[in-house]
């Protein structure tokens, strides 16, 4: 009898680029597990449904997995905007909710105990690592003094912006304050925000104007918090067209191959992006009980799909590893037991994935992890930070030489 695992993903619609990659991550992992004999001796059957980037459909599909397909476990979906609604239904059924993407703090402050986030930390705290790069890698006094923050009106992007700007995070339903992030990472680092702008989630075309405003603000650092790789491409291309000359550009998306394809090597040069994963980081993990390094993952992925993986496939791969280890660890597909097992992880006995080690706090946020900062250099995405922790770190390019 097979062991069924369901995942609802945005294969079509606005989030489809990442959704498709998530599917690959889940599929590859499942395939490798099955080749190694499955979980608890059972072959794994992966059920993927397309939710068309629509929250209501996503909820519907998880409910279908649980009630009709009678799955043994589920994988999370892509993006905060889908994870939020799915969270409540999975909590109702008390399924382990392994979240590949959905970093907003509010998701974890609802009191659910079945959440396990497979990324570094809540998006609100991303700014910490950005500022750290500036502090650690740029010589004293040469760092940017002013910044322009432009962001998509998106869950994830808003959350990063809130951290950078030091805003309060509130639950609009009850107006309860969840966290006060003041004064904000930028203020901390002595960077003044000279321009701030948001664009709507859908239907925005006026990129040149935005880029023009950024240029005119004269900001030395441009922070572009885009919701998708597509927006990152648009923003970068427009900055190039208007001839902006910042010293540093940080984008929240753009680690994907689509980015370099869309903007070209020159424009991409020096653009910094935070990620949870990078192909050159020597993470060690286990798969089906055997050691499985990050390099193994990259190799397997290339063999399967003919392209290099990126973050959007690595994270779901890690989610799949986590569920596998949880089932094996708990010795059952009883989700309550699996949840207990995952919560019981400690630093010495963590969940080991291609994203590194994971242990979680009460809320489901990973403990003691930091982002990997990457930078496009001559058409390649190199990882530049943290220095000193792993092999393969490449020197940071600064300042950026135009687009």
């Amino acid at each position: 009898q097979t062991l069924k695992i369901g995942a609802s993903l945005p294969i079509t619609g606005g989030l489809s680029v990442s959704g498709e990659k998530h599917k690959r991550g889940y599929e590859l992992c499942t395939k490798l597990i099955n080749e190694a004999g499955g979980i608890l001796g059972r072959q794994v059957e992966l059920v993927v449904s397309d939710n068309r980037s629509d929250p209501a459909t996503a909820i519907n599909q998880y409910e279908r997995f649980i009630n009709v397909d009678k799955v043994d476990a589920v994988y999370g979906t892509f993006s905060s905007r889908l994870t939020f609604p799915v969270g409540s239904i999975l909590s109702k059924y008390n399924m382990v909710h392994a979240v590949p993407s959905g970093g907003a703090l509010r998701i974890y402050e609802q009191g659910y105990r079945n959440l396990f986030y497979f990324q570094v930390s809540a998006a609100e705290y991303t700014g910490k690592d950005v500022v750290a790069v500036i502090k650690d890698l740029i010589p004293q006094g040469q760092g940017p003094k002013t910044a322009a923050i432009v962001s998509a009106d998106d869950f994830f992007a808003n959350a990063i912006a809130a951290g950078l700007l030091g805003e309060k995070v509130k639950d609009p339903a009850t107006d309860k304050e969840i966290a006060d992030l003041a004064p904000g990472y930028l203020a901390d680092a002595g960077i003044k925000v000279v321009m701030q702008e948001k664009w709507p989630e859908e239907g925005f075309n006026d990129w040149l104007n935005l880029a023009n405003s950024i240029k005119r603000s004269g900001a030395e650092m441009i922070i572009g918090l885009t919701a998708s790789a597509e927006e990152a491409v648009q923003l970068t291309r427009s900055l190039k067209t208007v001839g902006a000359t910042p010293k540093l550009v940080y984008l929240s998306q753009g680690a994907q191959t689509e980015f370099i394809e869309g903007v070209g090597e020159n424009a991409a040069n020096g653009v910094m992006i935070h990620t949870t994963w990078h192909k050159d980081v020597p993470f060690e993990s286990t798969l089906a009980g055997k050691p499985f390094s990050n390099a193994d993952f990259v190799k397997a992925f290339e063999a399967e799909y003919g392209v290099e993986p990126d973050e959007d496939s690595a994270i779901p791969f890690a989610v799949c590893q986590g569920i596998e280890q949880a089932i094996n660890g708990a010795g059952t597909t009883d989700n309550a037991k699996m949840g207990e097992w995952l919560h019981a992880r400690i630093n010495d006995d963590p969940v080991r994935t291609v994203l590194g080690r994971f242990t979680w706090d009460e809320r489901g946020l990973a403990k003691d992890k930091s982002h990997i900062m990457t930078q496009w250099q001559d058409g390649k995405l190199n990882f530049v930070y943290p220095t000193g922790e792993f092999e393969g770190v490449v020197p940071f390019n600064y300042p950026k030489a135009g687009f």
């Binding site: 709507p200 859908e202 023009n212 005119r216 067209t241």
Partner: protein, 292 residues
Amino acid sequence: MADILQILILGLALGGVIALMGSGLSLVFGVMRIVNLAHPSLIIAGAYIAYWAFKGLGIDPIVMLPVSAAIMAAIGVLVYRLMFEKETKSAKYSEMTVLLTFALAMMAEGVLGGLFTNTQRVTSPDYATDAFFIGDLFIPKGQLYAGLLSLAIIGALTLFLKYSRLGYAIRATTQNREAAELLGVNVNFISILAFAIGIGLAGAAGSLVSFVFSFFPAKHWEWVAMLMSVVVLGGMGSILGTVVAALLLSVVAAFVGTWIGATWSTMTFFLALFLILLIRPQGLFGEKPEMA
């Protein structure tokens, strides 16, 4: 001052492209009474043709324009024969066609998604991310070329419709199919022709759009409302109106986007639509509906 001028330039540059995207829509409505909700998705199809030629064969999208227009026109013929030919006799023609084109939009999205995946694409000829710098000001080359070409195409088409024999036949068929047929017009052929021209225009627009905006199959939903607003504001079916509305709104949107906030720049299009409904329901250049 330079600021204002710059924003104006950017607005106009964007407006030129939007004008071409909208004018195909306007044309198909003007001469066929079809509100083609699928127009944006067909523009995307045209853009994919340009993209494929650019990536695979290294052909410049502007060079590709006539080809992609021709291919799309051919597709238009096919689509018309399969979907719309039967509807011409329906009493609910205009409403039916709205829904049919809606279905067409979904099918196009599905097919394109299957062929090209949902990854975002853009063609990147050099001029696409370049600009003419004049002192403090700059004019983006890509937008400029696209805008000028758009206006030229629209102009040529308008003349064709107004003065050529086929143009007469097309307009006559729209206004009174039976009468046109009784006067010797092969109305079915004319309908196919007109539809093909409209879709061909989508193909042409697609070529130009391919280096101005990035696109993926599902992108058309974002465009549809914006283009429709432009068309209504200009006056349903008036190509000149569409062009003026597109330029006007783009400029206003540029100012709103800069001075009030980028979130609100899209809003310009929709608010303008409501405003025009309040004060001049037939649109800027539309004819006042005749009562009795």
